[in-house]
Symmetry: C2
Subunit: 330 residues, 2 copies
């Protein structure tokens, strides 16, 4: 089928998250041809989730009017630590029961296509680097601020994954030794100060303490359905409280950015993830100013700090970049 038109190579990128699975079809120039989305339903167990990933890939392939035979490879980002060589997810805290799951092996069986597995933030960094920055900077750091905070590091044009393939765990960089408790058990981690979870907690705690905010008018007192976009709306309508919370989070993101610039002196720092997607207009100037205050002048020289425009697509784009990279090696 369609053999004549298949001089083009097609790649699938998958973003496997705690709540949803996103798959995208990309051509050789990283153009996104189609996407598909399924909820993860992690509570149904490991096997069911893997089957859903396969189904999501097939949906996306079908959406692009292609068949699996035309797919050169699938690159998938998983929310946890990954052994790239074996394609095993070692541990994914937001996926129930995911410990030492041979994702590559299972998916290849289901799809009949080569599968490559990476950490989700690493893969998002790779997507931003290749598709958005056209692989131009030599060194890049990606900071992804969402429910949690993760990072990805590109050094000399290659994804840097470290000794045990865990590099980029920037969310657990301590910024404030006596700061708020983090999910990891420590105090004052970047993630405990500036993630969506941390921001929402601060807002809910403020409301409990009697803080006035437009958010309660919009969503009711319990703020159950709070989303990052609501914060943007509230700020634009003049909500001082939400503005202050977001400014504080942006300052922490700026300090973390400066720490990474001091340590790694990259050419570009890219900020992405759900919080940045919703609130970049509100946060970027504070992030940049704070980073400049905290980074050493020499380390900051010529370094760009930018917001990614890929949004939610960073992960699937990076998956396709990974699959394309591995296909070239083969």
């Amino acid at each position: 089928m369609a053999e004549s038109s298949s001089k083009q190579d097609y790649f699938v990128g998958v973003d496997l998250g705690g709540t949803k699975i996103l798959a995208g079809i990309f051509d050789n120039s990283l153009k996104n041809l189609a996407t598909a989305k399924l909820s993860t339903k992690s509570q149904r167990g490991v096997e069911a989730v893997i089957e859903r990933v396969a189904r999501c890939v097939q949906d996306a392939v079908d959406e692009a009017d292609l068949s699996l035979k035309q797919i050169v490879g699938v690159g998938i980002g998983a929310p946890g630590s990954v052994d790239f060589d074996s394609g095993t997810v070692i541990f994914a805290p937001n996926l129930e029961g995911w410990k030492d799951v041979p994702l590559k092996k299972h998916l290849e069986k289901l799809l009949g296509v080569p599968v490559f597995v990476e950490n989700d933030c690493n893969i998002a960094a790779l997507g931003v680097y290749a598709a958005e920055l056209k692989s131009k900077p030599r060194h890049m750091v990606g900071i992804f601020v969402g429910i949690g905070i993760g990072g990805g590091i590109v050094i000399d044009g290659h994804l840097y994954s470290g000794f045990g393939h865990t590099a980029g765990e920037i969310g657990h960089m301590v910024l404030e030794v006596n700061g708020p408790k983090c999910g990891c058990g420590n105090k004052g981690c970047f993630e405990a100060l500036a993630s969506r979870t941390a921001i929402f907690q601060r807002i809910k705690a403020g409301v409990k303490d009697g803080q006035k905010t437009l958010l309660t008018d919009m969503l009711g007192d319990d703020l159950d359905d709070l989303r990052s976009g609501d914060l943007r709306k509230a700020i634009r309508r003049g909500d001082k409280f939400v503005d202050k919370v977001i400014e504080e989070a942006a300052e922490y993101i700026g300090i973390a950015t400066a720490n990474l610039i001091n340590i790694l002196n990259p050419e570009v720092v890219v900020l992405g993830g759900g919080v940045m997607e919703a609130l970049q207009d509100e946060m970027m100037s504070v992030i940049i100013e704070t980073a400049k205050d905290y980074a050493m002048a020499g380390a900051m020289k010529g370094v760009e700090i930018v917001a990614s425009k890929l949004g939610d697509d960073a992960g699937i784009t990076g998956g396709a970049v990974l699959a394309r990279r591995e296909a070239k090696k083969a």
Copy 2:
């Protein structure tokens, strides 16, 4: 002279510090044959310091019964930001008037030997990596705790210097947003919490507040001649106050180590510098325990945290490694 015996290549490593210049002669296997030391006398001006560096190199060469003709190259670590390609010291805060000093050019004129200039902590990391770890780990982070705190990063077996050659400025990683003021103008930098300067300040402040310590018996109430070695002596004689200050500093070093492990997932973290040299027996177990507490389990897996045995010689050794590396390229 000695042409017949000169199948061996000789290299000079120089550590240019704020108070002293150290030069060492090394053979191809990085064996240290001789050293020489001069005070820096930075107040005499840039030119005088460069001449003193040249004299120190000549002293060391003479001490090893060699002549400059037998020296293949000189590698020098300078305490500031360096443009490696031109061999220029861009800025060295602890050397009076050192701004855009073409050190390589001047020294090559004085010595007639190729000279290579690097940041002092980068070069110390290189020395530890090549001479102490025999270049075995793929990725290494060096943390040097002295008057200030600096770092050096080895990635894929090569010194990583970043976009603008400033990578490794780990001393200005913020660990405690509202912590003590740092010389850089910010608050809560690693350097402001755990450097010799920070430790001494805390001890002197404690004494002013009436803290009892053996140090005042040893050195008088003003503690003017305090050295890191005195702290070790006091602790070994049961000084609870000094013990607590050092334990606290070790905890901060452990947290910084964990941050770097979370970010970079190196195979080895090496701790060096004057404070570590004097107090490693007192500090290492606290550093390691704290790092384990703060690093993500996956990132910590198989990672070694060790104290360098090179002490003050890390810099000159690294200088020789640099000269040897560049000679091979030529």
